[in-house]
Amino acid sequence: MNKLLHKKNSPKRSTNLFQHERKWVNLFLLPAIIFILLIQAGPLLYSFYISFQDWVFISSSTPQGFIGLTNFQNAFSDPAFVESIQFTVFLTVFTVPLQLLFGTFLAFMASGRSPFLQVSRALLVLPMVVAPVAIGTLWRLMFNDTAGPINNHLLSFFNISGPLWLGDPFWAKIAIVIIEIWQWTPFVFIVISSAITLVSQELLQAAQVDGASRWQIFYKIELPLLAPAFFLVILFRTLESLLTLDSILSLTRGGPGSSTVNLTYSIYNKGLREFDLGTASAQSWMFMSVATVLIFLIFRFNMRMEKKI
């Protein structure tokens, strides 16, 4: 869009307009560049350097020398790390598709102009805006096996004696799946909701006039038009699901045992509890390479959509 506007101007005018401005543009960018270099780029490079060092902070306050790829190799002989990767994948595989399913269903259910639907849409978003740490504690209360309402009111209503939830490795995992779905389905919901409003009403009415059933309209018209939005939502949710930490930390503290420690959590423990800085840095760089692929896809897809419009 910007490019188009520039083209419209006579070349002389825009050179004049911009020649004096180069220094201002650079000056306006400078503070942000300084912030990014100092706060992000510098420490990232430092962490890259540490990942090749033998450095356990408890035993020494300086790195104990270059050890090549040893930290990267050690990462995989660390059972906690491997286990945490498994749980991270488990969490993503079980939460993202369900978030997508529920979010899309809700988006179609709550689309419309009636005041009831408008108020509902505003309220359905709430779980997403609350600090994940608080979501974890909130559900710690809900899942409490003696006093929590899930066992005491919901399950006992159906005459089921509830599991120990957070005291049982299997049910603790399920509890995390449940809160991740609870918190992030709203994200899918709002993205798909706003994508639905962009689908042309004429097209849907035309299909209706031609005798298409509601299901056919959904399947043949709306779904393909919503495909780009779905794709981006999947990328976003997958990426953020891999990065989850806060809610797990306050819901289960990784327990019982280490059954609910995910990737971010295990790197956090390695670095800030065991102070094995070298290994933690190496692990975080391996994690970063996977995340970078997803971020690059998000970027590419954004740029493509921008060009189309």
Binding site: R13, L17, H20, V125, V130, L138, Y268, A291, F299, E306
Partner: protein
């Protein structure tokens, strides 16, 4: 035809209403229960498992504010969120505008945008160890400055990205007219661009405040005791020995309330920040 259509819509609404009401219950009940529990007397917690307590008490809030340093932590959260929001809006808005009006090669712009998106989404755990060491070295561990600096690294690029996408939609003609009348870069930015950008700035501010207020990982890495923000405090109430339910629920309520207020009254601004990159515009 129109009549039939209307009826169909009404029937649809009749099916939709119970489904939506059930979902609303699932969404809202945990919040309701959290708030109610924060007023439940400690003795009732295990003894009375009814949804509503027999009596209400302010003990937990009193406990948080008197014995648990709650006021300090609340102040920390406000200072961090306020400072971070103001600085990132100034620095990020300038950067976003500069990017839109720059004549850098397209590739350079793309690289910059990629970096901004990257910083928004990369695993922040990677800078936790270096920052712990740096703050330790400069004696900044456990100060609000440490938290503010780390949050700025996250929010400045984000605001730059958001404002860049916003400024791209602002027509350049007005500025050109002003330029012909002799208004310089700063003058045009302040008196033409900024007033037109208030919706974008509102979005950026609210979302920045949201990020900083809720952020846990970075804040927990560089604070120990006196500089903790509320999310860090919450995590601290859940210990290996047990859970301090009353103070925990009271503090969680304190963290949740401002964001719920934002979400209810300024939702469109908050949502724009959340969906940046996921939806065009």
């Amino acid at each position: 035809m129109r009549n039939i259509h209307l009826k169909r819509g009404q029937i649809q609404l009749l099916i939709k209403i119970p489904i939506i009401l059930a979902t609303l219950f699932l969404v809202l009940f945990p919040f309701f229960y959290l708030v109610v529990t924060s007023f439940r007397p400690a003795g009732e917690f295990l003894a009375n498992t009814n949804i509503l307590p027999q009596s209400f008490t302010l003990d937990h809030y009193r406990e948080v504010f008197t014995n648990q340093n709650g006021l300090t932590y609340l102040k920390n959260s406000f200072v961090v969120t306020g400072t971070v929001t103001i600085i990132s809006i100034i620095v990020g808005t300038m950067a976003g505008y500069a990017l839109v009006r720059s004549r850098y090669a397209n590739t350079l712009i793309l690289v910059i945008i990629f970096l901004l998106i990257f910083i928004r989404f990369y695993p922040r755990i990677s800078i936790v160890v270096p920052w712990f060491l740096i703050m330790n070295k400069f004696n900044l561990l456990d100060t609000v400055w440490a938290v503010i600096i780390l949050h700025l690294g996250l929010t400045v690029p984000f605001v730059a990205w958001l404002m860049y996408t916003f400024f791209k939609g602002v027509p350049i003609e007005l500025e050109e007219c002003a330029a012909i009348d002799g208004a310089g870069f700063i003058r045009r930015f302040v008196s033409i661009v900024l007033p037109l950008s208030m919706p974008g700035i509102a979005s950026a501010s609210i979302f920045t405040a949201f990020l900083s207020w809720n952020e846990f990982l970075l804040a927990s890495a560089v604070t120990r005791e006196s500089a903790k923000t509320l999310p860090v405090v919450i995590a601290g109430f859940v210990t290996d020995k047990g859970t301090l339910w009353g103070p925990l629920m009271a503090t969680s309520t304190l963290v949740i309330v401002p964001m719920v207020v934002f979400a209810l009254f300024l939702q469109k601004y908050l949502i724009r920040g959340m969906m940046l990159g996921a939806v065009k515009g």
